[in-house]
Symmetry: C2
Subunit: 321 residues, 2 copies
């Protein structure tokens, strides 16, 4: 079944540990995603279908379903589908911004169909997420998801505003991560079960996820990440590895990011790695995941949800092991 083959390893560990309802639910989300991207005409189907088929970890839908639990029902299925549609929309739009040729090793919509169709494809995916929820009166889910979408766009604006500034603070970086990544992970948990502590768990593993993603951009290898090393730097985006590396190698704060080419970006990655900053960022991420798991222990959750959420948290780390 395509559902099985599309599931990446860390998610498999979660599915293996769960009862039948979780893989069944995830399969239904996959089906609903196909219906949504296929139900608005052949132009969307062609562009969004490629993004859909490129896969992805479906971490956000997984969080919705687990937090929703066995009794989450159709509302959780639709919530999980809607959040992945929003996530896909932001990926398609990000690729317009970065003019990225590849994502997950597959050509982007922006590269194959042009910026124009990519912007419209993203808008359509965005709108379809809200249309899906509105058709079933899920107004609280719309409230959560629209707020998270606002945060995502604010994070993107902040990142563009900070572009090429090698001196930005760690605090500012973490604020951006919370907007760009934490808010949607938080939203995923709350869509499943509207409990603030679960939301905070989501924020923490979302931040860890972003930190580790930013490590991968510096460490590569490109064969594994599907994009060249130093892509963020070439794009002007300063992340925690560079911020921490500045402490050991102060000249890095004066690096002229505007003059980078692919070769210089790789050299800058090597110099960042040489300071040991990558291990420090990894440690931070691991601490965040540990804190998130301690939070689970303190909550009154049933044993299955606690175990599955713990495995998702581990999965965020294992990708990078």
């Amino acid at each position: 079944m395509s559902r099985e083959s599309a599931v990446p390893p860390p998610v498999t560990a979660v599915l293996d540990a769960s009862s039948r309802w979780l893989p069944t639910g995830l399969g239904r989300v996959e089906q609903l995603l196909r219906e949504q991207t296929g139900g608005y005409g052949e132009l969307l189907a062609a562009d969004a279908g490629a993004t859909l088929a490129a896969g992805g970890k479906r971490l956000r839908p997984l969080l919705v379903l687990i937090c929703g639990g066995e009794g989450g029902g159709e509302d959780a299925i639709r919530g999980a589908t809607a959040i992945e549609l929003i996530h896909m929309a932001t990926l398609v739009h990000d690729d317009v911004l970065d003019a990225a040729p590849l994502r997950r090793g597959v050509p982007t919509v922006a590269a194959t169909a042009g910026r124009a169709r990519a912007v419209a494809t993203g808008d359509l995916l965005f709108s379809s997420a809200f249309a899906l929820l509105a058709a079933h009166d899920q107004v609280r889910a719309i409230e959560l998801l629209s707020r998270a979408s606002v945060a995502l766009a604010q994070g993107e604006l902040a990142q563009r505003h900070d572009a090429h500034d090698a001196s930005i603070s760690e605090r500012r970086y973490l604020e951006r991560c919370e907007l760009k990544t934490g808010a949607l992970f938080e939203c995923a948990c709350l869509l499943g079960a509207d409990e603030p502590e679960l939301g905070r768990f989501g924020t923490e593993i979302g931040l860890a996820f972003q930190l580790l993603d930013d490590v991968l951009d510096v460490s590569g290898p490109a064969e594994r990440t599907g994009k060249a090393r130093g892509t963020d730097l070439l794009d002007g985006t300063v992340t925690l590895p560079l911020i921490l590396a500045r402490e050991a190698d102060p000249e890095l704060a004066r690096a002229d990011l505007r003059s980078l080419d692919a070769e210089r970006a790789e050299a800058l990655c090597d110099r960042i790695a040489a300071t040991g900053a990558l291990d420090r960022v990894r440690s931070r991420a691991l601490e965040m995941v540990a804190a998130a798991k301690r939070r689970l222990e303190a909550m009154s959750l049933d044993a299955e949800r606690r175990e599955l959420l713990g495995l998702v948290a581990d999965g965020v780390v294992e990708r990078y092991a």
Copy 2:
């Protein structure tokens, strides 16, 4: 008051004919738009504030408020604000697609802040519209607006798919107009009062509005439209003036739109105008407006709403008189 000075002439005629509730409502929409674009941090405020200050006719909010009537209340105010936020989002994104330097004679977000911030600004405006409605449980309004947003994006995708094809049919053109413009005008009416006949009135004047806009792109003058003549053609977009002109001047169907520059685009505009096609398109638009007004006569509306909607329909035409 800034509200008064921002109101363009056709809208003034509507306000003059109305009781106090309509200008009061429109002023509140303007206030809420400022709050929304100012309430998500200074980066959005800077970019979206310029789009907001550039004004515009506020035709869609006007339709929401009139259809809602004197008793439309806060739901109508928020519906009117949300639809204008969506409209602004699409304008900001359109300018990314077209790389347009000016809109309404004012520099676009894409031109001043770059494509990246323009995409994110549009996404933020989009999300804020749904967040506003969700915060007040207006789930039916979200359903209407998300469907219209889907249609808008479908229209944009279709237009990009048809780009540079000088042989597209009139029927295909009208389908695109219904998606790109008709759907949001229909939505505006339904947000005010959920009656299908009012929706059809909205669709008709929306189509007329688009036809007349497409005439202006060919006729100019640039001083009045705020953009160069033939901008659509340069962008590869074939509209009804060219489609009708082909009948009198069949060589136009073979025009190579990919090789146009500004000078050749102006020459092509002159050639289209020489066939009399512009008058034919204007007549079509006037027929649509007349049909829309007949529809009003057949409905059981109170006298004030009928009169005001008739004036809005006239206003769509008068811009081009």
